[in-house]
Subunit: 145 residues, 2 copies
DNA sequence: CCAATTTAGTTCGTGGGCGAACCGATGTCA
DNA sequence: TGACATCGGTTCGCCCACGAACTAAATTGG
């Protein structure tokens, strides 16, 4: 967050923090060990894959720098959620894939996403939700130029 | 950010990151040294004060844990933006206040806030902005319960 | 009045995130 | 083919943030 403590930027920063806190609580409540909100995007990406993918593909998908992804993947591996292995064709490349234990996170993952969304929106109507998301899209675009 | 990579939570996380990036760029462009987005809330609070305040007051205002604030204040002090001094009445208490150099940040601070807001909102109309802020208020509240 | 508790602040260890430097391996191209 | 650039990935140093443990100084209450 930052300069704009009172304004919309501060609001957005606080919402993000609370959303993360909620995710952490949910993970804890479900007894999921070693997973933190930061692992979400990597997990989400890998859950969508049927086959092993190069780490590079993860980097491009998650919007984190490669040094960050290296560490995230190491952590997930340490906890047994994924495994790494070198490519035969290109010795620079390392593939990753979820283990069975990693795959099993899918259910929690989806349920937590659902819980988060409904807590976040509360009783907001469908039309308001759509308008809100569209406005946020616009804002994201405004900040990307 | 988290589980909900595709959904609204991911959107919000990305907006926050982009807002922070914009602030960093602005600070750099203005040649402000040693200040980062994380210092914003502390600075904002201190700029509002006429007299020295106990660190405790800073902690309560910025929504960060006291160990975090200790470090932030140390950094701002190291760069000469504020000074610390012990209380006479209560030896446990340390006061902080901005130095002249710190006070001089006010202008940049306000201008960057303004720049951020207009970049963020873009050409969104006043009524939409208000509705958006109200919805975000609602969301923040939903997540706080 | 003094022991127990609370309070303000710091320190330490852990983890996310970044950029820069680095390492091998592969590509390029003269 | 051999020097150079590029590429995938890791390591390192730094900053933010947290909680737990710690210190010194009040405050409380028996």
């Amino acid at each position: 967050m930052a300069v704009d403590t009172g304004g919309i930027a501060g609001q957005i920063a606080r919402i993000r923090e609370k959303a993360n806190a909620l995710i952490e609580e949910e993970l804890k409540a479900r007894g999921v060990k070693g997973i933190l909100p930061a692992h979400g995007p990597v997990l989400a990406f890998l859950l969508r894959q049927k086959d092993p993918v190069p780490i590079k593909a993860v980097v491009e998908s998650v919007g984190r720098v490669k040094s960050t992804v290296t560490v995230t993947i190491a952590t997930l591996q340490k906890h047994g959620y994924l495994r790494k292995f070198p490519s035969d064709e290109d010795a620079r490349v390392t593939y990753v894939e979820l283990t069975a234990k990693g795959r099993r996170l899918q259910k929690d993952f989806e349920e937590i996403s659902q819980t988060l969304r409904s807590r976040l929106y509360g009783d907001m109507g469908e039309r308001d939700r759509e308008r809100l998301v569209r406005q946020l899209d616009k804002i994201e675009e405004n900040l990307s130029e």
